[in-house]
Symmetry: C2
Subunit: 340 residues, 2 copies
């Protein structure tokens, strides 16, 4: 028996992208006739076996859920996996995890690998590169073949499927309103650059909260971080020039960096400066002072995603109606904000 | 086609453990004749297909590595996975991760699932329950079938295979010696109870370092934590009664808890109390003050494990000689220890 050739090997051999190989094998009109023929001939010659999910799905259940996420060093994704595991165990499903490392190609390869008989369906959060490319053909493909997909957190509106998200704009709004109600007027924002979608939504929440409470928007109080490397320097510069009463940071790394910089400059947290973060990870829990934060509730998000997927796997008839569930966030009050 | 029945379903149906089913199917003499026959008849009736790896291995490579670890909320395991991913990508392998959640049964089920055609070999760290039970038949089984296994960190000497470890005793010794060389004489230890193997080895390292430098071992300076819940209280009690000059903590949660308790009691870190932790995770990097720590070098451990596995997968002839590689640790000096 010949060895099975992979998508990646075909791409390398013919010097085209993985996406081109994948699309050629599906006869996509996006790819030129010539390339399609070349790829298909090569695949045939080397015994490439595409997914035959549609054929086998009704007969063979793997009782396994495939998870594809960008990375796991982030505590948030680890908690989502825990939530998925809980529900999967309750319902007798196994869980397999693959990482895209924020790469589009790895995401496609992982899906390809898992879709070929290893899993019944997918729970996934898109890689940065996939979001930039806006190429979702690999996801559409498995859905067309009858494998359900649930997207969470980093989703796209270009694919029709079940989704689980939090309302980032509203969560940020509530965090900033919490600071306003404590009497703070000079509130700084430490956020990402605008092309990061969740960063943009959280920035909108900050702006709206100021506006609704008749507070002026001061651009000098807004720090946009492109690169975590110079995060500390940019925060220090803002603290020196502006001396805000409070800061809203859009993730926990930014929040803890605010604390470290303030402490170095002799500014006491929370006595002289209150700080709220986003994402309730271990840094927020164990930093000194511990950080008041918006909890994204990763466990709940994972549980919900697993329930939606398993429901769809166990449906008697196909249902074309898809749902988008919004998970509630809440504020966890700790030591980094002044209690008045 | 009938649905494929799983190990778990057979166990449930016959009201025996998964381990009993697994052993019965392999005709293990540990299981009574009666049970073996019952399990085998049931498996046959319901089309249970055991792994036929030995038959197919030479012909069909999946180019996939299966990782089975206890959990991923721990930063250490996340970094090991990153290391494995790096080498796997360089060598054209995919990676699949499964979690045992510290459960023996889940570890067996995960191996079973991945061994049936999804992976070429395994990299794994044992669950707590597997270490307690000392039941390693599932690992021995896949090795016998020709699938290589590399164990890392939580290993056993009862299985012959490649292993990657750190020298916990020596690493702890060096951390304590570092404190002694700074001139500290009253050094406390915050460790786990003795049945946790790495905790025990690190405690030994502490004891040996004191002994070699003619410092007395004072039991009142040793705090053994059974349960993370009352960790803070036990540390507080010791700090109140003993007032050590320095503390060696066997993981980063214990270390950061020492800092929080000391700060609450008005003891300044590092001016009045130096603290060293173990495991260089994000808590150590982002706590205030940041924590001097023994780096376990998870990335390097993962890279080494992946190299050993891939080498074995690509060997022309089988090699019965197995290696145990010891990864070097090093001390990362940060703000929690006084620089003299």
């Amino acid at each position: 028996m010949k060895r099975k050739v992979t998508l990646k090997q075909i791409a390398k051999e013919l010097d085209v992208s993985i996406s081109t190989v994948s699309k050629s094998l599906r006869n996509s009109p996006e790819i030129s006739e010539d390339t399609r023929q070349k790829v298909q001939a090569f695949a045939k010659l080397y015994n490439y076996r595409p997914n035959n999910i549609a054929l086998s799905l009704k007969n063979k259940k793997t009782k396994t859920i495939g998870i594809i996420i960008p990375e796991i060093v982030h505590h948030f994704f680890a908690t989502v996996i825990s939530g998925i595991e809980q529900v999967a165990n309750e319902c007798g499903y196994n869980v397999i995890v693959c990482l895209s490392d924020e790469s589009f190609d790895k995401e496609v390869i992982n899906m390809e690998m898992l879709a070929t008989g290893s899993t019944d369906g997918f729970i996934m959060s898109l890689s940065k590169e996939t979001q930039q490319k806006k190429d979702f053909h690999h996801i559409q493909e498995v859905i067309n073949q009858g494998m359900p997909v649930v997207l969470f957190d980093r989703i796209t509106n270009d694919v029709l499927c079940d989704k689980v998200i939090i309302d980032d704009r509203r969560a940020a709004y509530e965090a900033v309103e919490f600071l306003i109600k404590k009497g703070f007027k000079k509130i700084a924002l430490v956020t990402t650059v605008d092309y990061v979608s969740v960063g943009k939504l959280r920035t909108d929440g900050y702006t709206n909260a100021l506006h609704d409470h008749d507070l002026p928007l001061n651009d000098d109080l807004v720090v946009k971080i492109e690169d975590i490397e110079n995060c500390a320097l940019k925060i220090e510069a803002m603290l020196q020039q502006q001396r805000p009463e409070a800061i809203f940071a859009v993730n926990e790394l930014f929040a803890v960096t605010c604390i470290k910089q303030a402490t170095k400059m002799g500014i006491k947290v929370p006595e002289e400066l209150s700080i709220i973060g986003f994402t309730d990870g271990i840094i927020s829990q164990y930093s000194s002072p511990s950080i008041t934060t918006v909890s994204q509730n990763g466990i709940k998000m994972g549980r919900k995603a697993a329930k939606m997927l398993i429901e769809r796997l166990e449906m008697e008839e196909e249902d074309e109606r898809y749902r988008t569930e919004v998970i509630e966030t809440h504020l966890v009050e700790r030591e980094s904000t002044l209690s008045l």
